[in-house]
């Protein structure tokens, strides 16, 4: 799998992502600067990592969605390429309208850096194939704007077409949208991640890339990356 990590000014989790990808592929992913107008030849997976692109002084991700490199990423996605956006990367994908919905300030209006539990809502995608449907895994989250919102029609469409990738749940898998202990940022339907219509673009707020090593507290995030490698081999 050839992965390319996109770096905007203010991106700050590109190294975490590179470590996670290197751990499963055995080689360093390409780093692509925001001003590039093309992706490296043969790219299988584009990753938009976390951070504060352009300072996020406008809506989070709004500036990055118009960066030069985004034209190449749109084209890549339109041709069926696989794109993963984490945290700020998810925000950018919604701003670029490659994924539906938007991320508002956390309901409690504070930055939240803590572990959360995610439930895998389907496992027939390259991003989730190494989990079983309904699996619950622990992962760090670290964001101020992760409160997922979309119109009622969009939410219904996402639910009807099974495009919710991950939900915030209790450790036992129980969902409770109204409980801030379980759905920490107040997301609608406790949505932590969504898929595009073709299931090849995935955005999520928490950081599985920061939990891929027992030394750092566990490998709960690793199936995302091993699954992608298996799906995108070659």
């Amino acid at each position: 799998m050839k992965a390319a990590i996109v770096v905007f000014p203010g991106t700050n989790r590109e190294r975490d992502m590179a470590i996670a990808l290197r751990g499963v592929t055995g080689h360093a992913p390409a780093m692509v600067w925001h001003r590039e107008d093309a992706l490296p030849a043969g790219t299988d997976l584009v990753v938009l990592p976390g951070g504060f692109s352009y300072g996020d002084y406008l809506r989070c991700g709004a500036m990055a969605a118009h960066a030069p490199v985004m034209a190449a990423i749109r084209e890549f996605a339109a041709k069926g390429g696989h794109v993963l956006g984490v945290c700020n990367g998810f925000q950018i994908l919604t701003e670029a309208q490659l994924l539906p919905g938007a991320l508002l300030r956390n309901a409690a209006l504070r930055f939240l850096s803590q572990d959360c539990f995610l439930r895998v809502e389907r496992n027939d995608t390259p991003f989730t194939r190494h989990w079983a449907k309904g699996d619950v895994f622990r992962t760090p989250m670290a964001h101020g704007d992760g409160n997922y919102i979309a119109s009622a029609d969009t939410i219904r469409m996402l639910e009807d077409t099974n495009r919710v990738a991950f939900r915030y749940v209790a450790e036992d898998g129980r969902m409770d949208e109204g409980d801030p202990q379980i759905n920490p940022n107040g997301s609608m339907h406790a949505i932590a991640g969504v898929f595009s219509e073709n299931l090849r673009v995935c955005g999520m707020m928490p950081h599985p890339e920061d939990l891929v090593d027992p030394l750092m507290g566990g490998e709960d995030g690793k199936p995302l990356f091993t699954g992608l490698v298996e799906a995108l081999v070659g």
Partner: protein, 736 residues
Amino acid sequence: MSAKVSRPVDEALAREFGLTAEEYGNVLSIMGRTPTFTELGIFSVMWSEHCSYKSSRAFLKTLPTKAPWVIHGPGENAGVVDIGQGLAAIFKMESHNHPSFIEPYQGAATGVGGILRDVFTMGARPVANLNALRFGDPNNPQTRRIVDGVVRGVGGYGNCVGVPTVGGEINFHPAYDGNPLVNAMTVGVARQDRIFLSAAAGVGNPVIYVGSKTGRDGIHGATMSSSEFDEDALAKRPTVQVGDPFVEKLLIEACLELMATDAIVAIQDMGAAGLTSSSVEMAGKGGVGIDLDLDHVPQRERGMTAYEMMLSESQERMLIVLRPDRTEQARAIFDKWELDFAVIGHLTDTGNIVIRHKGEVEADIPLAPLADQAPVYHRPTAPALKPQPMEQIIDPVGVEQALIRLIGCPDLASRAWVYNQYDSTVGGQTVRRPGAADAAIVKVEDTQIGLALTTDCTPRYCRANAKLGGAQAVAEAWRNITATGARPLAVTDNLNFGSPEKPEVMGQFVDAIAGMGEACRALDFPVVSGNVSLYNETRAPDGTSQSILPTPAIGGLGVLEDVRTAVGLEMPDECDIMLLGETKGQLGQSIWLREILGAQDGEPPELDLAAERRNGDFVRGLIQNGTVIACHDVADGGVLVAVAEMVMAGQAGCVLGAPQSGMRPEAFWFGEDQSRYVVAVRDGQALTTLAAQAGVPCRKLGRSGGQGLTLPSGSTISKARLLAVHSEFFPRLMDR
């Protein structure tokens, strides 16, 4: 401001700038003429307490600063120590106290930004931030505003630059009501052969300005930080700088990219007193002169005068001396990162700093006397008031009730509400996050080296006995690092005190340094960098002023050759829970005494540095060889609080046996005797034998297992109950 420029320069103006009559006399004799307005501004900030350390310098010199593993001690932007494999840790702690009272968010944010620059200016990638915070009485209505702003500011800046905030400490006390303390620490890692210093060299070499544009923010910030607050403190908001962590992030990446080349001769950040201190210090250290033409300084506002540009404390700026033929190579890097880059001058052989603006020479000052003749004061000292002796103690509540009250009190309650607003995992190297061990553990990327990081100080001990308190702060930092299995290497100190013009405060300062020095020597734990913050006073409307508690905060750094050997404090199942170190049941100045009896009496617990070292070296060896599975030092609140914290952090409970015979239960369980550790081992009997051989007092406290904490009375407090009580304080204070 132009009206001000036209003001005559005289003693009255010098006074307004914070210089004494005598200091102004020295300025006149150095210059041989009346200085210009800009020159007087430069003298006043360079000779401010904040920049010149005039009240503290003579005493700081007594601290030990050397060890075989120290690469650079005090005098550089940050301290540098050898961590093995050709790598160095670069670290420092610095205060941003005064701005944080006036404007908590920006005060704290720019405190983080400033200390980051001190570290990456030396070539290190910042890998961890910590912070030591002191706030006023939780019941004071100002406290909530300040806690909220400071926590948001620390997080807002650190989270955006992508450096994990992994540790710190918080105390509350009414003495900080009008003067909170915000001490920020950054740790970075560099290759030992790529460390950058600030001494300028090479006559003719270009002087480069990079980073943000210069505005009028923070003018005379250093002077503001060198005086007491009065009732108009909040009117000083314009002297507080405004931070932009996004630009800082770009500046880190651009500087590190430039540092990978050989273009840089010298580099320093523009911190307190901005362009003035950076240019004066770089040229002064290098023994060269410097010519600056301010017309080329990137400016955010129109019509700025030379005085304003020289004294501005606009953030996220660096000054670099380049090799002459590397200007375009460097410019290309800063263009890539969309940062300002300007050649604003060059080095000369005159030994003077010459400032030009719009064709006029605005300042021409000889650098040697500006540095060498900076004032040094040996201010009068007076012994501090001794604490009241402790009265006969009668425990009114019993052990169980006292434990519940202690783990919920402001100084011991869970800090999760705070550290959950700080990104502690970015970078992917955080092995032990806040609350998981006595020191935070961060792995050095692409190696197995671990760094153990902590900040410590017990201000109530320092007030009761400043010398002992200074020593205890150092010992506790050493102990916290030791409790993870790491080898303590060195400290950075952040000395926060009241006005040095008060003899009893100066006495506290001198005593605290004496105590720190003793502990640093006994523990081979030298001071490699630091910062002094004086004039931490709040003036009441009636003219009296109250000093803060003496707070010599210590930032400690230790190293683990193999980070996998580190232990945390989570209670493991089926272990013997042992106490190492001698227990005398000293309750003087303890949290128990304050929270249960409302008294702040007695001498703080004794500190025997030989025992400290013996006990610590013993524990560290047992962690490294795998005998000790979990470890927690005994600190505020004593043994029972330590055990409760281990239960709350882990999955297993603990059943405790009887306390030491011949000692009152509250003295055994809540006394704050120093140099002790609670450890979990598989075989307590074997540990007892080893400890006896090493001369370390050892005692079995109980056995882990089950759920909750079972006291000797047989009563069990569930883990859920402990956690509920422990986590109540911050949300109740802040989210109401």
